[in-house]
Amino acid sequence: MSLDLLPTVLDRLLPGDDELGWPSASDIELPRKALKLAAERDATGALETLLAKLPGDFATLEEAGQVAALEALEGADPDGFATLILYAYGAYYTDAGVRCVVEARTGYPARPPQPKGYALPPFDESLLATVRQRAPFWRKVEG
């Protein structure tokens, strides 16, 4: 069953980066999460069809060979591959642990946007000093 390849495929797509602190797909059980999202959207079959196009020996290839096979698949079926990416990235970047890494690496809070929201300073009208020197330039018409 081609979905058996999904864990390996996801680890090639999102291999993690120990130096930067990003987990790999398998570190966060991404296959299960991605399949859950896909099932909710009736997209499991589409993923299965896509992965069935991988070479029969994909699982036993070296990492470089697997990457090359995925690149070939992306070139041959870009729409199908985009579906795979949607569920892979969708599950990865909604994972609570990954959001904590996002916060640690970029400062964007891991918490949901509401109910706290974020603080921004009020609009500073002094920014308009230059443009306010312009005369009206909209086109005047009759009526």
């Binding site: 999102l14 909604t94 400062g107 929201g117 609009f123 009208e125 909209w138």
Partner: protein, 542 residues
């Protein structure tokens, strides 16, 4: 058929224009029933960890991706621009960015001034008082005094803040000597003291709906007022046809109610407000002995002259972080430096607006956002860090000239539950529009260069930018070339009027909602026989 009922006025569609016109009629004491195929749509997921996934799926603007029960089928084989709209109480204002610009006076006179398109049978001055009235109901943050626009009344609330990314773009516009101004936004920058809507807390994902009620959608603005005035709102109502008598007068609507029972509702006046795609779809599907080509379509004008706002996106990526995805995504600033016609400058008539956007959230960025998808594989994580929080974008939104071959028609191969065929979109980008887009891309590149971008990513034509459907049942004086008169009354079909964006003879180069709402209020006052605006009581202005 379950039975026949009667009301004074039926409004089909509870979105931006339908809500406005229903409130205006009810305020005058008219018995109004509104039929809406969607339901009430509360804010979704912004308090949940999966909020970005919800934006990508169940709240996606494209009905083909969203797959909501309320959506009707659309065939998109023959268009490069995919539809972006929402069905429900509030319509597409449930999913919008609430950028709230007005048309310019010249937008109503493109034929007279530039020899292209179609003049409106009314002008800016006719709409001006209704723009103001609509601003009061919707609630607008902004700042009067923009030199690119006619003077307007003081905005009720100060502008929304700029984020660091759009502040950087403002400085670049200044150094280039080009216009920019803070957007008029239908988003409360401050809480309304007498109302129930709060202030924006800059959470970011406006498309999920607004838990504070700061972002206006008509379920929060017009609808509470309309219901208080006694409007009867029926949700889950899928209209099958507008019916006429032997003389061709519109007299009733048949629809499937929420229980899938067929209903028949009679009225003195039927007003269609189903947007520039849904309205022609319904008219074309309402075939009868009196109207064999569809109601109002005796001259083959219904559905033609479809106008969008073709949009390019230019994204600058900067070495240093320039801000997180906080603040209203579409309501920072705009430039109308290139809005009015200048053929010598751009080898095209009419013009366009540049609009500043901040970057998207982590998932949105990874999937491409306004730039390009982050590559998978060993480079993914470093590339994500180099992009997320490092981008700012400018949209190039151009005026779309009316072309009779760009149209909404019916695709009989697919029908909805009420047996109404799918809307089929046929659209080809015109040469003038392409030239405007290319000119705008060039100017937006200059802004990004001036702002210090290390990399600039261009989307020459945004595929998912079918936000606006205009012109498909245009107003005009000549029944040979238009569908309605200046009061929205359908030529040759007494008892039937249209108030949504399909009535626009031209598209302008800015977002149309304030204009289509103002036009709906204007049409309502004419149909009510009012000479002047009635004063609005204080409790209804919030």
């Amino acid at each position: 058929m379950q039975g026949t009922q009667r009301t004074d006025v039926i409004v089909i569609g509870a979105g931006a224009s339908g809500a406005a016109v229903a409130w205006r009629f009810a305020e005058a004491g008219v018995d109004v029933t509104v039929l809406e195929r969607g339901g009430w749509t509360p804010p979704a997921a912004s308090q949940s960890a999966n909020w970005e996934w919800v934006l990508q799926t169940e709240r996606h603007p494209d009905p083909a991706i969203r797959k909501a029960a309320a959506d009707y089928p659309v065939t998109t084989d023959a268009t490069p621009i995919r539809p972006a709209l929402f069905c429900g109480v509030g319509g597409s204002t449930l999913r919008w960015g609430a950028h709230f610009p007005r048309f310019h006076p010249s937008d109503f006179r493109t034929r007279s001034l530039d020899g292209v398109g179609r003049d409106w049978p009314v002008g800016y001055d006719d709409l001006a008082p209704y723009y103001d009235l609509n601003d009061t109901i919707m609630g607008v943050s902004g700042l009067a005094g923009d030199p690119a626009n006619p003077p307007r009344t003081a905005r009720a609330m100060p502008p929304l803040p700029l984020c660091p990314a759009t502040t950087r773009l403002a400085g670049a516009f200044d150094r280039l000597g080009w216009h920019w101004w803070p957007s008029d936004s239908a988003i409360n920058s401050t809480a309304q003291p007498l109302g129930k809507r709060g202030a924006c807390n800059h959470c970011g994902p406006c498309g999920l709906g607004c838990p504070t009620g700061a972002r206006a959608s008509t379920d929060l603005t017009y609808w509470p007022l309309a219901l208080k005035k006694g409007v009867r709102l029926e949700t889950g109502a899928q209209v099958a046809a507008i019916e006429t008598d032997r003389d061709g007068r519109a007299i009733a609507v048949t629809y499937l109610d929420a229980d899938m029972a067929l209903q028949h509702l009679e009225a003195d006046l039927i007003i269609v407000a189903a947007n520039g795609m849904g309205t022609p779809r319904l008219l074309l599907a309402s075939r009868s002995m009196a109207h064999p080509e569809g109601i109002g379509n005796a001259r083959d004008q219904v559905g033609r002259h479809l106008m969008h706002h073709p949009t390019a996106i230019v994204t600058g990526l900067f070495d240093e972080p320039i801000g997180m995805p906080v603040g209203a995504f579409a309501c920072a600033l705009y430039s109308q430096e290139f809005y009015e016609s200048d053929v010598a400058d751009r080898d095209a008539v009419r013009g366009y607006q540049l609009q500043g956007l901040r970057g998207q959230g982590p998932l949105g960025t990874a999937l491409g956002g306004y730039a390009r998808r982050i590559p998978w594989g060993s480079r993914h994580h470093a590339a994500f860090e180099a992009n997320f929080g490092h981008g700012a974008s400018l949209t190039v939104t151009v005026e779309d000239l009316p072309d009779p071959d760009n149209r909404v028609s019916l695709d009989e191969r697919t029908v909805d539950a009420a047996s109404v065929p799918a809307a089929a979109l046929s659209y080809r980008l015109g040469t003038n529009e392409r030239r405007l887009l290319d000119h705008g891309i060039g100017r937006a590149r200059e802004v990004m260069d001036e702002a210090g971008a290390r990399d600039i990513v261009v989307t020459p034509l945004s595929r998912q930018a079918g936000f606006h459907f205009l012109g498909t049942c245009a107003m005009g004086e000549d029944p040979e070339t238009s569908v309605t008169d200046r009061y929205g009354r359908v030529h040759g079909v007494p008892g039937l009027a249209i108030v949504d964006g399909s009535t626009f003879p031209s598209s302008g180069g800015v977002n149309p909602t304030p204009t289509l709402q103002a036009n709906a209020l204007r049409i309502a006052d004419h149909l009510l026989g009012r000479i002047a605006l009635s004063p609005t009581t204080e409790d209804e202005t919030l």
